[in-house]
Subunit: 268 residues, 2 copies
């Protein structure tokens, strides 16, 4: 994805947010992805490497090739991986629709929070398929902003989230892609597709998730597009701020927040 | 709850729907509720006994007292339990807000799909608490219609579900109560409250759930209030029917349907 078209932008705050999110959600999203020693893994769309370090830690013997179209992101990813002392990852610049690897170069392909940013997610999956050996697996993890609901409920907060969904549509992405993974991966030619939802349920008994997910991940993401949403008149400044306040309100002791990620696995 | 105020009505079709729902969801909702032999269990609001038979099967040695305010429902529940050869359940008519048992009469209290129909769910939990011995548990299971989302998305289907939520509000219930269980049970004076979401994720790889849940449980429930919604002008007949068609559309091979129940456990 290019800098212009990445909905969350490329600021340091965004990098920090991605890092917080990755740490909080590591177990929920990644714990069941372990690739055998010696296996060749392609991470398509590694971004700033937030998922790369988890992937590499969980599969220390695998040979991971992580690609991204953004050199800026790759630089951050390289630094992050170096900082963690990880040695089984090679970074390469490349366009997910046009990767220059030989057919069947990989035993496994992994994509996390990538398809949501693509106008043609199915074509991306189709273009990756030849790179996979027969019997190899593809794993895809995506969120779904339409899966967010909370207590106390708030029409303002729902509208604010709706603006984020609309914005992602306008720049050629899809913030509701999580629920679509089954038909998407199956129609791209993979077989035995299995999707499992990974719901993040947050109430006051889990203060780590209240801070790490509701506040620092989801609400921060919504807040991050506020100026853009208001500047184009999608919501008034007042209504927007009420929506953001209402999201923070769900972090109070009687609040609840729900969000669901989806993880798909298929085979060639 | 009285016949007039039970949103789904008391027809045979409704009884069949409740039965289908109970069978499909048994494992997801009930498998982790097993009461010890000899323990005294109160099922508050047993309705037509759809959950009672599961509860009793899973705790064959427990002595279960199932109460409901509706004699019509109790008759159906008695027949259902007799038909299953279950002998550890006693049925009694009673108002959940005013049950005539001695203090600490029960080791465990169980409520499933009851609070959603009550205007004062917290007061119900407060009124039940004295009946529980010190250290005894309360278990509460509820759905949340605002947790429903699907692919293909449809504004008509979302509006139809919204009408069902509004209708339940108007007759003094709350169709969004699932997400509220943590603050509700905690504020009623129970301690160590733990809520776990039970998400029903349905795609074409699970034809049993496509039929048993998406079509025969959720969509049938929405369809069941159609005449009422249209008669009071909440939606036009045309829009309503489009919404119902769009829910059925999610049962096609490329469709997906998501819904989440919530299960809370607390102690006195």
């Amino acid at each position: 994805m290019s800098g212009r078209n990445y909905v969350h932008g490329y600021t340091q705050r965004e990098a920090d947010r991605l890092s917080d999110q990755a740490e909080t959600l590591t177990g929920l999203l990644h714990s069941d992805t372990r690739y055998p020693a010696g296996s060749r893994v392609l991470e398509a769309g590694c971004g700033t490497g937030a998922q790369t370090v988890i992937l590499a830690h969980n599969s220390l013997g695998a040979r991971i090739t992580s690609v991204d179209i953004s050199e800026v992101s790759l630089d951050q990813a390289r630094k992050r991986v170096l900082g963690e002392g990880i040695t089984n990852v090679t970074f390469e610049a490349g366009d997910i629709f046009n990767l220059r690897y030989d057919p069947e170069s990989f035993d496994h392909i992994f994509l996390c929070f990538v398809l949501e940013h693509l106008a043609e997610p199915r074509r991306a999956l189709e273009r990756l398929r030849p790179l996979l050996r027969e019997g190899g697996t593809i794993t895809v993890i995506e969120g779904d902003h339409g899966s967010a609901y909370f207590h106390p409920d708030s029409a303002y907060a729902r509208r604010a989230i709706g603006c984020l969904v609309d914005l992602q549509w306008e720049i050629g992405g899809n913030a509701l892609i999580g629920r679509q993974l089954y038909p998407l991966v199956a129609s791209a030619g993979y077989r035995g597709v299995c999707v499992s939802p990974r719901m993040v349920y947050v109430d006051a008994s889990r203060p780590d998730l209240v801070e790490g997910f509701t506040r620092l991940t989801f609400t921060a993401m919504v807040e991050g597009v506020g100026n853009y949403v208001v500047s184009r008149g999608a919501m008034s400044r007042e209504d927007w701020e009420q929506g953001v306040r209402d999201l923070h309100r769900t972090c109070e002791p009687d609040g609840v927040f729900c969000y669901t990620f989806f993880k798909a696995m298929g085979r060639k």
